[in-house]
Symmetry: C2
Subunit: 248 residues, 2 copies
Amino acid sequence: MPTARPERGMPTPPGRRPRKAAAPRRQLTQEAVVETAIRVLDAEGLEAVTMRRVAQELGTGPASLYAHVSGKDELRELMLDRVAADIRVPVPDPERWQEQLKDLAREIRRVYISHRDIAMVSMGLIPTGPHLLDVAEAQLALMRAGGVPKNIAAMAVDTLGMFLDADAVEGTIYYAKTPAGEDPHAFFEEYFGQFREYFAALPADRYPVLTGMVRELTDADDDGRFEFGLDLIVRGIASYVEDGERPG
Amino acid sequence: MPTARPERGMPTPPGRRPRKAAAPRRQLTQEAVVETAIRVLDAEGLEAVTMRRVAQELGTGPASLYAHVSGKDELRELMLDRVAADIRVPVPDPERWQEQLKDLAREIRRVYISHRDIAMVSMGLIPTGPHLLDVAEAQLALMRAGGVPKNIAAMAVDTLGMFLDADAVEGTIYYAKTPAGEDPHAFFEEYFGQFREYFAALPADRYPVLTGMVRELTDADDDGRFEFGLDLIVRGIASYVEDGERPG
DNA sequence: ACCTGAACACCGTTCAAGT
DNA sequence: ACCTGAACACCGTTCAAGT
């Protein structure tokens, strides 16, 4: 016989404690916790994703989350892996592995940036989640298909990962700094303009080279910078392909 | 007439409140605050550098710091710039600018890593402090001496900076994770060994490439990885030197 | 087994009040 | 002018107690 439950609409009989109204007792799951955390992330950034905030969003207290997640660090890793599930990976074509690797890098960047500063979690993290490993597998598969030696591919996946993390963090940090309610783009323009002025006002005798290229340094073309670094890295990796292993 | 001060050794006369014993009233300065913060950083890592902790170390309350520093973010930036003062920069020799740029990168890495996870502060920060700008000036001077065009040098200093930050953060994050009192090296070995096992146990049908190179991927040669990435970037930069501009 | 309230030991920052 | 105590509005995590 299961515990008796009060029927809907019935008042609590005298002497029996009320069952805390209509607390829906919606089952908490790890999935629900992670999804809620990502909603907070998308709306307010990684800093706003606190155990207390996520719990509040789920209508409970912070202690309740610890049944589904070992702590804040694990929650962050689970969030990252869930986000990584959206990254579409290619089937390797040995003829054009370099362009495919660049496209994959662009796809990773797109997905990361669409979730605010989530890339911060990836920084210095050894990937263990299934989806993060899918992405690593895809990068390695492309390089191996292109004839990149194993030891080079192993280091290259790390270098490329560092570049992607650093770029995504850099790209969202100003966005994250935008005061609530202000237009991020306008804030960004204003913010960057101040730096241009600051650099222009620097003493030319101490910083002769820098002051001679203020325009180039403050031309904030994010996509251009990303493509520049990506090209450097991919070309560098390709230079390690041994002649005998080169496809085609 | 200045306020009367009690002479040394004299007791407090009746009816006058004692002046809080021998509180040395050692003048707080921004320098003292920053130096103390760096001492905490070196001893316990960046996370331990809180306003309250630094204040405590100075024998005062957290509110007192706000007269010398606008807040925690500014304190972190001041710490980074003070650390950057220890980076020795070269006089450019156009004949060997690439090796000089690599040496400078190694020097930056050395100094950063000697101050725990300070590189985290550099991440996504536009340098404004005098010493950080000295380092940027030196990098740009080397590239310009080598004949790298302005627009390329401007992007390259950014790419190299991202690489250095990401590497230094990655290199210290496990160190930072070491439980207090445990030997970092032993902890690191143990920690890494677990990942090796984990990767080896991965399903080979889903991760065929990855499981085929577990040894290469978990061969944690930090210096090797750094040199690999550094070489990629410097060679890439050098490829943009126009023939007419190449020195020698 | 799962969930919770309350507590513990922290945060950064503000501000009125003191000297 | 500089410094401070106290307060405000937060943190992550633990744990005994409940159902």
